[in-house]
Amino acid sequence: MSRYRIPGHGRVDHGAPVSFIFDGKTYQGLRGDTVASALLANGVHLMGRSFKYHRPRGTVTAGSEEPNALIGTSRGPGRFEPNTRATVQELRKGLVTESQNKWPRLSFDIGAINDRAYMLFSAGFYYKTFMWPKSFWDKVYEPFIRSAAGLGKSPTENDPDRYAARYLHTDLLIVGGGPAGIASALVAAKSGARVVLVDENPEMGGALLSDPSVMIDGAPAWEWLDTSLTELRAAGVRLMTRTTAIGYYHQNFVGLCERLTDHLDTPPADAPRERMWRVRADQVVLAQGALEKPLVFDGNDRPGVMLAGSAQTYLNRYGVRVGDNPAVLTCHDSAYHAAFDLADAGSRIAAIIDTRRDVRPDLTDAAAQRGIRVMQGHTATGTKGRLRIKSVRVNPVQDDAVGKPVEIACDALLMSGGWTPSLHLFSHTKGSLAWDADSNTFLPDRRTEACQIAGAGRGLWGFGPVLEDGVNAGLAAIEALSRSGNPRDLPVQNDRLGTGVSHTELPTDLSAGKAKAFVDFQNDVTAKDLRLAVREGMRSIEHVKRYTTNGMATDQGKMSNINGLMIAADALAKQPPQVGLTTFRPPYTPTSFGAFAGYLRGQTFQLTRTTPIDPWAEANGAVFEPVAQWRRGWYFPKPGEDMHAAVARECRATRASVGIFDASTLGKIEVAGPDAVEFMNRMYTNPWTKLAPGRCRYGLLLGEDGFIRDDGVIGRLSSDLFHVTTTTGGAARVLNMMEDYLQTEWPDLNVWLTSTTEQWATVALNGPNALALLKPLVEGVDWDDFPHMSVAECSVAGLPARLFRLSFTGEVGFEVNVPARHGLALWTALIEAGKPYDICPYGTEAMHVLRAEKGYIIVGQDTDGTVTPQDAGLDWAIGKAKPDFVGKRSLSRPDIVAKGRKQLVGLLTEDGSKLEEGAQIVLDPNQPLPMKMVGHVTSSYDSAALGHPIAMAVIEGGHDRMGEVVHIPMPDGVRRARITSTVFYDPTGERLKA
């Protein structure tokens, strides 16, 4: 056992040693240790290198606010995690950890040269240093920054762990299981309210765990803690430890992240690693306590320099003395108690250096009793020691004059710059803060949510006042819940009350310009950086923050915000509230992506919609592509075929005989009711009044702005019933738009809209033999009166069907709709009946080629939300005689009728090469850069039917440029292409009449 561990002391299990690895070396700790406390027990302070200067760093804190001691942890394959705080990671058997930002090793680091090159890295270095010469960026600066900076290494494998998520509804959520939170819970639980108490630590108790010297309600602190927690459990309070309230959102919605397995030696096989709780609470009590501030002086980041309260935590909670002869540097009474506790535990306190001239006599007396020298009215002006502090340079200060220095030898320096209420969650709610000039800190002011703030979180100090405040917050919460409760007296003996003052940088006799006095340890921001930012013109604290990166690291400025503000305000010669505080944002502490994703990953990240025919496609070797949320058969390769060969074969077979295609994903909406035709007239550009039942028509839907939103063939089944089809991706949008007009603009119309997309399976047959194949299977259709663009309710292969005669290929075509449960039966019946015709299943790629050969557009591919019917060459689909329809007025807007709009045309390259979709088009390839781009390629395919590639494009004034040559600059040279009609194949439509 190391001499730094005090046998029997603290809350760790002295009978349960746990071994772990840090940087390849095996160490022993105890059950209940964190990695940080176990390393300190082994005398190890050096735990990492800093982000920018690679300065050696040790742990500064004992909690989740730790900026320095960031380590990589590994729990086996795929389970590496960077930037874990050593102060939070609990020890477990076999834990493997490593330090970060070091090369080749922690004790000797090449990158520490950055420390000497300080000038390069001062405030705003991102914006200044690397600007010149420009050519150095790629080759010199960026590789250097990338190798030198950054926090930890990203994991390279998929996270194999499970993450869970749950909702929780409760009357009262209390955040923080310290004395204030426990006191609130005690009174609230008595009222019968449902109460949840959460704390980020492995056990409840908060500051009581770090400072057990007081007596509460007649019992020693830890005894009172046990009794109280037993009482809460008995009252049904839900106590959640290892649970961090990460964000506080509207209407008392609080996110909690619960860590379930990282502390276990052998987690159960299927146990989730973390669980995200989404809590809705009627009332919230925030009892988050306060965070200690560092003091800002040269060398305040040397390993061994840490917060006094944290040293007290290591001592009382973990039984670890952080040094044999620590010095204490403070401007607050609280650090005296850290010194006393350590002295009582056997450390020799080198000195208590207090910046204040006047200190409470009972504190100086207590120090004298222990033989501790107190140096009042002194400042610290430097530290020495390469990888661990060896001494601190101390000077007297008299009327702002800094006197001669003395060196005080020490192996640790415990600092306290006072305490900052932890207001992060309160700030998430946009609760306003008020500057308290007495304590030099912000306190919670106007609340926006149903919450109470209790204890040190609103600036109180001492267990007595905090407990009383917790009781009052609990009572206020239950009163707000319309319940009644009784006050509870929690008398405290031996309370350690205290006050302090606040500082910017500590005064020094040395050049302030040479001082490395850190404000933000994690981002390596010094006081000098902050002053430089102000000198260079930054006035708002938000600008200072971004220019220096102060408070922007993963600790969210928990330690640095107030010191940064005080220094910036001083430099601006303003009061801190005039400079303002930067915004705290969720999450409170770094949170794994897994916890946010929860169950929504892999197969459950987004649902995959499949059609009833999907199993056949899968069994027959389809290659799939995602379309909206659907999985669609892309092409059906035969053995040895690549995509190009398969698609060409599918296209040829369809044009030669018959192809079969699963069109079930088409959106379908039934428009029914006495006013259905009027509704259709108002929604779609086309005229519908004269469309007879049994006929169908291509429908074009515009937005009110006149741009194409959707299209599809629409069948009229009876005078009051339309079967509308939409694009696959547009189904929900179109229904939403229809409902919007029907509900809010034309509520007088008697119409019902029903989504039937998934009620029907749709199979398309196309090709010269489609009719011959289909005819014998159909009953109930009068073929003498069933021309192109007809629809009938009939039976196909013995199944009830809606049969459309239409074509998206230019061949004779049909779409057979049957109830979805019959989809697969229909498909297999058609495949069977098609064998004599060499029926060929084709996928979405062949469908795209076949339609492009005919110049049929795909909304969203050939249009982009700025294309009008005229632009797309679809003027013919507009019912010009109709008085009104959605978008009609916009078609005569000045911008829409102006010359030079981009219009849809065909393109054929002169060299017969295939163009790239999205490629930009220019008129003159010899013009200087940047060239004037007049349009882009929207569709491009190899056409088996034509024997050469074809393309569609939108080009400025394209309709008036027929036959002209345009140019498409590509990486391998400029292509020439001639503008043509979009109809490449069978322009007269002979094949439809076959």
Partner: protein, 99 residues
């Protein structure tokens, strides 16, 4: 996540069930062809972009599917009131003084 009161279901439900649908009380002109280009432009594109109380439309899309109106404070994100489509803009000054 906000809680939103659907005036049709008369229930207060999570934001996930709802979809935003733009500014409220912008009626489509009865005869768009009678509007000048400028009037039509204003109808199409010009919105209030309020700082403070904003009258807007929501749809209870994963519930009753009805469109309704709401007054929401864009600074606090707080819903002041929701009401059925077709109802006129509520007088919020009266409501506030009554509280």
């Amino acid at each position: 996540m906000l809680l939103i009161h659907c005036p049709y279901c008369d229930e207060t439900l999570p934001e996930l069930e709802f979809a935003y649908a733009g500014e409220a009380h912008i009626a489509r002109p009865v005869d768009p062809s009678a509007l000048s280009d400028e009037e039509w432009r204003d109808f199409l594109f010009i919105r209030t972009n309020a700082r403070g109380t904003h009258f807007e439309r929501w749809r209870h899309i994963h519930g009753c599917a009805r469109f309704f109106n709401a007054a929401r404070d864009t600074v606090t994100d707080r819903f002041l009131v929701t009401y059925k489509a077709g109802e006129s803009r509520p007088d919020l000054t009266v409501k506030e003084s009554a509280e």
